[in-house]
């Protein structure tokens, strides 16, 4: 097996080159491989509840340990994969910040799921671990194909997890919408790969900025489109609304802390490329801030807690996208991780209440915080952090982004501030609802919504409560990443200039958010009806893209049968007809001619037989006649 073994397997499995020694590199590989293998096994073998839960938590805990190790040791792995692109993973400053946070949130969400997921635990935890593996790969990928690999596997697990309760068609449709919408964006990554090859830069993410124009612009635009799709930014945002059909634990991990966040993460990762394509970067910044504002308004309009949180996730990621556009990598990264903790916390709270009460409708959740105080207080801290109230986390991280935006354009800053105020509004609304219910809500009407989605258990167990406490600590404290002295260290670790947080900006932002929060507590929130169904973007996509495609498909299918296939059938029939005609011709003309010749010959034969009488005197007479004729001929012809 010389060639096979040496060339293929040894290159694929040999200990990779690493800057941090083989053990750390191995840890990085295991970080990706272990959850994938355990996850696939759990999904396929369908073990019992207890073993599924145990295996899942143990794996997630090990993965957390490995990611911390990798964050400290900063290993790199690179083995040949396909032409021009290695299977490359590296833990740099950005990955070292994000990977442990995502691993920690994963573990906490899985702990929550132990108490919350009541059926098919093997499939659930298996898919979640597969997802965790693909996130770790996304965070550390150094080349486009590897990034795309992890990226689309995230999308596939998201599809399967949204449709976790596959008996209900609407959940499967929601998963399909999510997968197709994000994959439409992913086409940008394929395009970017082609552009990178054409532009001569190779497929390593860090080399893309070396591509020739105009390929560099194409590559940047392609990556931005893919990132906007995953991050549920405008105009792709509608898929995230549908994704809320998945279990709450899935929403907490995939649709806030990890997968959606990876859209923003990718833009931070390729910020050097954006820096060399100012047009694309500016467009990115504006798309981000537009999403932050518009989807913030969408969040204000919602009547369902998970829908509100989903819209707010897209809006908050708008700040990360803005950060990438204006080059505030450290601020964007800090916002990303702080938001991950905050939003995972709020989604878990929503999930705990949904399981207990059977509803996630806001008016039915009046006063839930008092009923289950641990989750209630954690969620309150999360909501206040989301509102951007000092000194909680998102206040500082958001300002780090806005400060960089202000240097770019004052309008960008103003729009960002507006988005910040709006987030104070919708987050404040959560606080109001969960403590005392919104003004004017009808208690009898709200009670009618109980158990409308599923029969509630009226219980919030310890498995569900404990993770929210830990996440609350993150929601409160992670803002330190954007404040001195840590901010400077983070910036240098990311290879960025120290982004000065402006004291004035912090004060202005904090005051505005606080004012918004207080206003919401005092007066009813404006709830623009036009934003309730997420601006009708899904209907628009259906009307302009999906339905025409389906109609075209149906027309082409009929065309295929009626034209292409019919043409072949016609040729066949024409051949048969030609055959039949030839057969008739053969019978009536060719064969008839032969028969006619035979008949004439037969008739001649009959005539020739007539003289053969057998009478000797007649033969003499015939001889005389013949001789006479011969004589006459001889005499006349001469």
């Amino acid at each position: 097996m010389n060639t096979l073994a040496t060339t293929a397997f040894s290159t694929a499995l040999s200990t990779p080159a690493s800057t941090a020694g083989a053990p750390a590199a191995a840890a990085l590989l295991v970080l990706v491989l272990l959850p994938a293998v355990v996850g696939a096994t759990l999904a396929w073998t369908r073990p019992g509840r207890r073993s599924a839960n145990t295996a899942s938590l143990a794996t997630a805990a090990i993965a957390l340990g490995l990611s911390v190790w990798a964050a400290v040791a900063r290993p790199a792995v690179s083995v040949p994969f396909m032409a021009d692109a290695d299977f490359g993973m590296r833990v740099d400053g950005l990955a070292a910040l994000v990977a442990p946070v995502v691993s920690a949130v994963t573990l906490l969400v899985l702990i929550f799921a132990v108490g919350d997921i009541k059926e098919s635990q093997g499939r659930f935890h298996g898919l979640m671990l597969l997802f965790a593996s693909s996130v770790s790969l996304t965070v550390t990928a150094t080349t486009l194909p590897i990034l795309l690999m992890a990226w689309e596997v995230m999308g596939a697990t998201s599809y399967a997890l949204i449709g976790f309760r596959w008996q209900e068609q609407h959940r499967m449709s929601a998963g399909l919408t999510a997968f197709l919408t994000t994959r439409a964006g992913d086409l940008g990554l394929y395009l970017a790969a082609g552009a990178a090859l054409a532009g001569g830069s190779g497929l390593a993410l860090s080399d893309l900025s070396a591509a020739d124009d105009p390929w560099r612009q194409v590559a940047a635009a392609g990556i931005v489109v893919a990132a906007l799709g995953k991050a549920a930014q405008l105009p792709f945002s509608f898929w995230l609304s549908r994704a809320m059909a998945g279990p709450s634990a899935v929403s907490a991990l995939l649709h806030s802390a990890a997968m959606v966040a990876m859209g923003g993460y990718l833009l931070l990762r390729v910020q050097p490329l954006l820096a060399t394509t100012p047009g694309v970067a500016t467009a990115t910044a504006w798309l981000g801030v537009a999403s932050a504002v518009v989807l913030g308004v969408v969040a204000l309009a919602q009547t369902d807690l998970k829908q509100l949180l989903a819209a707010s996730t897209a809006a908050q990621l708008g700040f990360v996208v803005l950060a990438a556009g204006v080059g505030a990598v450290a601020g964007g990264a800090a916002h990303l991780v702080a938001h991950a903790a905050t939003k995972a916390l709020l989604f878990l709270a929503a999930g705990a209440w949904l399981t207990a009460l059977g509803t996630k409708r806001l008016e039915a959740l009046a006063g839930v915080a008092g009923r289950w105080p641990v989750v209630g207080w954690s969620a309150t801290l999360g909501a206040v952090a989301l509102a951007g109230i000092p000194p909680l986390s998102l206040w500082a991280t958001k300002d780090a982004v806005l400060a960089a935006a202000a240097e770019h354009s004052v309008w960008l800053y103003a729009a960002g501030l507006a988005a910040s105020v709006i987030s104070g509004g919708y987050a404040g609304r959560i606080v109001v609802v969960i403590w005392r219910g919104e003004r004017g809500a009808d208690p009898a009407g709200s009670a009618a919504h109980l158990d409308e989605e599923e029969p509630g258990t009226r219980v919030v167990g310890w498995w569900q409560q404990a993770p929210t406490l830990v996440l609350a600590v993150g929601a409160v404290g992670l803002g330190v990443l954007a404040l001195p002295p840590l901010a400077a260290r983070l910036a240098s670790d990311l290879g960025q200039p120290d982004e000065q947080v402006s004291a004035a900006g912090l004060v202005v932002g904090g005051a505005l958010s606080l004012a918004a929060l207080l206003a919401v507590m005092r007066w009813p929130v404006p709830r623009p009806g036009w934003a309730l169904d997420w601006l009708g973007l899904e209907r628009a996509a259906h009307a302009t893209l999906v339905q025409p495609t389906m109609r075209l498909a149906a027309v082409l299918a009929r065309f295929d049968d009626a034209v292409f296939d019919r043409a072949v059938e016609r040729i066949a029939h024409a051949t048969m007809a030609a055959g039949a005609w030839s057969a008739r011709f053969d019978l009536r003309r060719v064969d008839a001619a032969v028969e006619a010749v035979a008949a004439r010959t037969r008739a001649l034969g009959r005539v020739a037989r007539r003289p053969q009488t057998g009478q000797l005197h007649q033969y003499y007479l015939q001889s005389v006649a013949v001789l006479a004729v011969g004589l006459v001929l001889l005499l006349t012809v001469r």
Partner: protein, 496 residues
């Protein structure tokens, strides 16, 4: 070595046919053993394989055959053909395992498939045009009997349509081969000699016509739009393993012909035809995907996705002839992707057709409207179908991605307009997920009720194919180290 690999299945077939009083069970297992031994031999050949120089073949065998026209019995493999040889041996083994539950004349079926295996392996190892043609036509004959003898529905008609259509295509191919022979100096049918001295280099019009005939013949077999309409009825009425071989192996004979014969033997004409080939590829990608999207019959749907998948290959080999400065590397990536796609499509579509066969076996219908919630009674089938569907729609970590990523990056870099074909992977995703949803999810209704989940022979055969797809998806070097040098060589040859 190669002769043994090619003719071992045929010898086994003869033994099976002549042994008197062989029980059905023994015949079924004998087939599995023969296919396993042949696969083992193929792996040994792989181990002994060393990449040949460009324009050469490894593990060559040749002897006089028809000296009057300088046609030789000449076998050999390189990076284009060895992957297909391995894939063929694997797929036939999977079919043998799947057929362990066959009740309808299993001995005769085993004989027929062993014959087909010899023919298929022979085609991929042929280094002589006449030999290639003989195997090409025998494959049509064998598949005709498979569909007509073991099919269902309107099998006789579909089989006849398949036979006549592809046979007609093979005549065009033969005309092209004769053109090559006449144009070569000295006259020969040997592919290596023709590669070394491309015929008709000084006669561009004749060369283009000869390539046109060859392309027509291969386009029918592949099939590309608009020569594809024999495919859906043939698949719909063929038995499961017949469909798997038809899609997995027989279609590759067309695409393999492009890279083995069309590109290296008529490089000038290939470059002249390049944009036509690219256009046919792009149309096949989009048209195949859209028509598949509109189907209600699962097998017809998968058949049309084959048109789509073959379109990627045609697109990539077309791009190979679009010569522009600094694109040689991109074009070789595209050709590498095309060959990878041949292997990947064989594994994945083979698996999907085997799973579709389970539906015919249990419920007698492929109509997706008759199913719903099948995941409840058949969870294993649901998982395997889901993996197969995702592999077919090009999900990374599975083989389809490795193929399509290279096809697209190479093609877009060399001919940016081909980016429009990217829509194909979006539509394919839509149609497979829709099928998954319609058949497997929701309330368990109609034909899904009382559906028996996969038997071990079905799980193992399908699982084997999908695991290999996963291996290629995760460790693509195991395959690409074979294909990449051949892809580069093909680009050099077409650039002459």
């Amino acid at each position: 070595m190669l002769s043994l690999i090619v003719f071992l299945p045929l010898a086994a077939a003869v033994v099976l046919l002549t042994l008197p009083r062989l029980s059905d069970a023994a015949a079924r297992w004998a087939w599995v053993v023969a296919a396993s031994v042949d696969l083992a031999l193929v792996l040994v050949a792989w181990a002994r394989y060393n990449a040949p120089a460009p324009g050469q073949l490894a593990l060559e065998e040749q002897t006089r055959w028809i000296p009057g026209v300088d046609s030789r019995y000449h076998l050999g493999v390189d990076g284009l053909s060895l992957p297909l040889v391995v894939m063929t041996a694997v797929l036939f083994l999977a079919c043998a395992v799947y057929a362990l539950r066959e009740r309808n004349r299993p001995r005769l079926q085993a004989v027929l498939f062993l014959f087909l295996q010899s023919v298929s392996l022979g085609l991929f190892t042929s280094a002589d045009l006449i030999l290639f043609f003989v195997f090409f036509d025998l494959s049509i004959v064998g598949m005709y009997f498979v569909i007509a003898g073991w099919g269902h529905g309107d099998a006789a008609r579909s089989a006849l349509k398949f036979f006549l259509y592809t046979f007609l295509g093979s005549l065009a191919l033969l005309a092209g081969f004769i053109g090559l022979y006449v144009g070569a100096d000295p006259h020969t049918f040997d592919i290596l000699q023709l590669t070394a001295h491309p015929p008709l280099a000084d006669h561009p019009v004749t060369g283009a016509l000869v390539l046109g005939a060859i392309l027509l013949g291969l386009a029918v077999k592949t099939p590309t739009v608009p020569f594809h309409t024999w495919l859906p009825p043939a698949h719909t009425d063929a038995p499961a393993i017949g469909s798997a071989i038809l899609a997995g192996v027989l279609l590759k004979m067309g695409t393999y012909g492009f890279v083995r014969i069309g590109m290296p033997l008529l490089p000038d004409a290939w470059r002249a035809w390049a944009w036509v080939i690219v256009a046919v590829g792009v149309v096949s990608v989009l048209y195949g995907a859209l028509v598949a999207l509109a189907q209600d019959n699962l097998k017809r749907m998968i058949a049309y996705t084959s048109v789509n998948h073959m379109g990627y290959i045609v697109l990539a080999v077309g791009v190979a002839g679009v010569i522009a400065p600094d694109t040689a590397q991109a074009r070789s990536v595209a050709v590498t992707g095309a060959v990878t796609q041949m292997v990947s499509h064989g594994l994945v579509t083979g698996a999907l057709f085997l799973l579709a066969g389970v539906m015919q076996d249990r419920a007698g219908t492929y109509d997706m409207r008759n199913y719903g919630g099948l995941a409840a009674p058949a969870p294993r089938m649901a998982w395997l179908f889901a993996v197969g569907a995702f592999a077919s729609l090009g999900l990374p970590a599975l083989s389809g991605f490795i193929a399509e990523f290279q096809v697209f990056t190479g093609s877009i870099a060399a001919a940016p307009v081909t980016a429009v074909a990217l829509l194909g992977i979006l539509i394919t995703a839509a149609l497979f997920l829709r099928a998954l949803q319609r058949i497997f999810t929701g309330d368990t209704i109609g034909a899904s009720r009382g559906f028996t989940d996969l038997h071990p022979s079905e799980t193992w055969s399908v699982g084997l194919l999908l695991v290999l797809s996963l291996v290629i998806g995760l460790l693509p070097r195991t395959l690409l180290y074979l294909i990449e040098p051949a892809g580069r060589a093909a680009i050099t040859l077409v650039g002459r």
